[in-house]
Point group: D3
């Protein structure tokens, strides 16, 4: 069942900074990937369900060139099966010096409607891949092919990426701060509460830019909260 | 089908240093685990087939205390299913500060006939576990329970451990130098050839200890090889 | 007010593996220091209140030889002020290659009744220091003096050590698995509950060594718990 | 006493590359922070006195959401007390994956006249924070809030940041190469001598761009130095 | 003997991503430097023969300011001897926090016809150096002078850089993905075969952008290869 | 010219902890190797002149098995040329997972009168090598042969080892704390002054063990120094 478009829209309006705070308040401290950053300029936040792919360390007999042509090689199957609207999340075991995808595979993923790629490995062919415009979060550019350092191991199982757990179907959100994994079961609740936090922080930022000191304002005490309610009731300016 | 006891015996007589050279000569450069060392004194080399278990990074909702009691939690299933004679190899993603097994699970593995445990994570309860005598290779002692840093993810799939690929059924060999993974398909050939290398090196060491210079001797040139054949024909001293 | 001797005794009977589980069940996941290990053979667990000392990175004008003779230099003041029964915990910012204390300072600490030293830096003069017998947990041996890499910065403030927070007065417990920090406010509760966990695990281990499978036994289900109560009521064998 | 505006101006004209050479010539080899880089485009070099803030590793009972609202929580006090013209330097113990400040706190610091922020932790809310224009040097973007990985510990004490010591009142200088800490007592001397080095290097660069080989010219021998004096006497071209 | 200009031209048309695949197919898995990235915007790929320079760790008596003026100090000799068309490759032992070259030395290298600089150390004076336009690949910006962390040790010997071996005369190729070292003996063969791979991948990319699935297309099976030959025969569009 | 036996004897009586302090007082802060530790039990300190050997990273065409038999391969030449009384110091670029020497080469070095081996790489065949009794300092045990990760590059040039510079002829001293490099030109001065420091510290330790507080005693003030002179004049007990 595809993700509710309203939920996607709501999450797209919430920064990953806000999401991590919402998750922390629900007991999830490990939600932001380490060492994974945006390599393609984005017009809006990346939001989509995780489709997972796993690599293990290279073993020469499992990582020859021929394996790339095998119809059942997991990395190639994943390229053709990740559904439209999903984010392909690839566990490269933090091997930043190994390139996981390049321009041809990214072109294919874009053609198939996949909305982004996230990996703790490297990105190959940066010059040719970035212009394709598909959002990609990775450890950085890396020329060597995947088989120079890794072996494809399976897909749609639970994985780790950037030292965060990812279960197929979790919601992936990415912006300039990096990538956050929202457990599927918490997505709706975090979206509602996060959108409210964003609104409150806009109000606080208006006050701070106008000269308010932070104590009592950030975090908001009861007085600030009642001022906020009045501001909301008066109608939040649309052009924000 | 259990491993041939003669093959096990032959491999037990070959050092991991020799095995890595044999594998390198067959194109396998990545065979020795990084950051994994013996924590229990051993009377002989560890040799057995790999039974694999995989963890992913902690997520708080997947790593609560309750999960340990679930009958389908992979780490607990593996403890009861790894067959006699096997080595339990656990992909802990290099989290040295997280303890993967402790005295109770190790006691159970020993009772079930598992011959060793290998992980790139930590070992808990070192004081109580070491006296059980089961060979354990790990990143070092670590008090925190597995659920403090990891979540069980699955078993008997391809994994990475210490930056080496491990496929279920691969042969695991461990000694003071660490752990080497021998791909199943190469095991017989590597055992035969490695035993021969060990014999030749015993002969070379006799010569070096007697004062021989290394050129022409190590590696052996044709002259040294023919001397070696005579030495072999004369009957290698048994008490070596 | 010195620590209750009964509490010290109870904690001495609990492994750090058990303590980390008790703390995790109370929401504290980060309690075991990383990269800190015992360098002196111990007859029993180290238990004591933390007396804290902080270093910052070296600056050559703050770290000359002369500073060591200044009566107000924090590292030297701490040596003379840490009270009997305390553990001197030193934040060396993980600089494993810098030696923090050596034989003369350790002799003085022992003379003053300090019960142990814990640091994420190095230990100097290992050959002369180990025979003094004072329990020391550190990142490893390191010849260079503290002033080669660090500057003393203050004492009895909140510090980090091995990536764990330490507040003066927290209870430090150390064994072969490493060092765990028990927040002062939780010490009594964790001691009581941890001692009970140790007793239950002794019972479970008896069953496992006798051949029991782990499901239902570890963790204990209701049946196992009632068996345990009977066993307890029957009087736990003293010689365990 | 605020910093002499002439000294600030002189230092603003000296690159951090030149400053590190000047400090090295005075025995200070460790002056440039490691792993700290500019995240906000700057029109001119950052120069100001250090106001220091220290974090220690997370402990869950010290790092809940509620602590952020406590009027005596050091990180919030520092935001309101760092004086105009100062640089807030934050010891985040190198935890690059933890966001230390975000858009609201940065807006408040700017409003209060603080001239920059330096930390070896991460920056949250990069998209909203960068447009505020306040110079920020950090380990990189990181969404998670400070309390997800750290606990506030104190302010205006000696700290470490990027493996360099910082004493309150030291002069902080930052440009595209990163951040250099100038000990307060050396600031005037380094400024005078550094400005002279910059002038001499402009002359050398003119010669090199005109085709001169480097021996005798860089570093300058006596001949080059006398040519330089003539060039200076002739009046250095203003438009450089 | 200078490098064949046709070879240079051919290599300039091949991405480093393609080169690593070509080298891997010839048994060379370690060819792409780790932790080395382009710091100067480039109009075309960097291609040239390696001229090597080696540093060892700092020793204070070998790394004083005076050494920079010695006519036989290797780093200064290399600046004047690296031939036109070469790439100066500097083994900085991965010390990313030490600046290896700055604006004056880079200006001199450019004046002498050296086509680029590659190092696993840092780049000083980024603001003044980047506008000079010479391609520079390094670990990142770093203000401190070379003598703050390293000592010059020799030139034109075999070195390591970014964990890859470099022999004087090897061909260096650098683009947005980083730097690849092509062993001299393989350069012509890799150039020919790599150019063919680039052409085939352009054809595949056309098909993928037009909606083709990857199985059978990437890697190309016999059908795809025959389609490719027809496409080639029909005349590949010039404007690609 | 071989090293003066009296100097060797004096240095053998001085701990590496004392040597690092002596060198620091002469401006040498970087003298103790990082990550290099004793793997063979020693009866006395290792002291000898450095004979240096350098490796670079692996390149498959330079690191095949055949290269080991080439008479001009630097690592094999060094084994036969390092003079009696020297210490073979091997720059393995910190590749702890690559074994640099094993039992046969160590047997040959011992036979030739070399007094020790120091490397920042790994040691192979630990079980067979340790009983040979030659002092070896390395990063730890590692089964894989040198050619699995490195290529021999040259000998008797300046190298780095454990992030310290080593020039052929420097004096190497090793004990339980690790390895210190004493620049040849400073050896006599450091030996004389270090022996005096050891004597003074023996006196201080006697006072501390007898109950003295450290202020004024360690470091020694004028009063303590005059007590020390009396103690010396009275004749230092021989059995110390």
């Amino acid at each position: 069942m595809p993700l509710d478009p309203v939920l996607i829209d709501t999450l797209r309006g919430i920064s990953t900074a806000t999401l991590t705070m919402q998750l922390l308040n629900r007991g999830i401290r490990r939600s932001a990937m380490e060492g994974v950053r945006p390599l393609v300029p984005m017009k809006q936040r990346l939001v989509g369900e995780a489709f997972t792919l796993a690599y293990i360390p290279l073993r020469e007999d499992l990582s020859g060139y021929a394996v790339l042509g095998r119809p059942d090689y997991a990395p190639r199957v994943a390229i053709e099966q990740a559904p439209p609207g999903s984010v392909l999340v690839i566990d490269a075991r933090g091997e930043a010096s190994t390139g996981i995808v390049g321009d041809i595979l990214v072109a294919r993923l874009r053609a198939r409607g996949v909305v982004g790629v996230v990996t703790d490995g490297g990105l190959r062919d940066v010059e040719a891949t970035v212009p394709l415009g598909l959002p990609i979060f990775a450890a950085g550019p890396a020329a060597p092919p995947s088989i120079s350092g890794l072996s494809g191991a399976g897909m749609q199982g639970p994985i780790g990426c950037g030292r965060v757990a990812v279960i197929p179907g979790d919601i992936i959100v990415g912006d300039q701060d990096g990538v956050v994994v929202v457990p599927k079961a918490l997505a709706q609740e975090v979206a509602t509460s996060g959108a409210e936090q964003e609104r409150l922080e806009r109000f606080i930022q208006i006050k701070v830019l106008a000269g308010a000191a932070t104590p009592g304002v950030y975090p908001a005490d009861d007085l600030t909260k009642s001022e906020y309610k009045e501001w909301l009731a008066a109608g939040e300016p649309k052009e924000w």
